[in-house]
Symmetry: C2
Subunit: 117 residues, 2 copies
């Protein structure tokens, strides 16, 4: 992704909070939905939670895949989805890849939902 493109997280952050006086536009809805779709999977939300529970809120793939009875490509796929919408950061250190929580992304989304949309 180029530096000029925004992940769904970034576009959501710049527009929230939506006040309850006016309903969400179609555009706004279509920016938020990819984030929610990324969260709306039992494996992905557990992956996110596993990373969040770790020291420094980051974990390498090898640590995460042990928690599931799923193939390695499947875990890799789910991590990619979470990364692409901006909920996880990705860093390669040597042979290992570390994913870390983008805390403010989750906070923005939580505020948007909890704030009554």
């Amino acid at each position: 992704m180029s530096a000029l493109e925004l992940t769904p997280v970034e576009t959501v952050a710049c527009c929230s909070p939506l006040m309850s006086s006016t309903p969400m536009s179609t555009d706004q809805a279509e920016r938020i939905v990819p984030l929610l779709k990324a969260l709306a999977d039992p494996v992905r939300i557990r992956l996110l939670s596993l990373v969040a529970a770790r020291e420094g809120r980051e974990a390498c793939v090898c640590d995460l895949s042990d928690a599931f009875e799923l193939s390695q490509p499947t875990i890799s796929h789910h991590l990619k989805v979470l990364h692409e919408v901006g909920l996880l950061d990705r860093t390669k250190r040597g042979t290992w890849v570390y994913y870390s929580i983008r805390t403010e992304a989750l906070a923005d989304l939580g505020a948007l939902i909890g704030g009554g949309l």
Copy 2:
């Protein structure tokens, strides 16, 4: 649904907030995911937002369906999904059916996500 069964919203509320020290269990994930799936659709999140923006946070179906270029059965289907997971309440008054926001359901979910999972 019988009075003894809990909607996803109710089961989520009784278990949150999840602290970041321990990761979410598989059971917890599977209670939260139906809520997120219900939210993760552009039509449904706009429906929710339209209801939330209305006086008393409630609206009848006829008001809502005008905002979409979708068939009436499709709108009815989406409202049913939101109702079944406990995000919308349903009341019939005469010929019309009114859906209203379950504010604390959205608040609980928002807190769960924004609280770092």
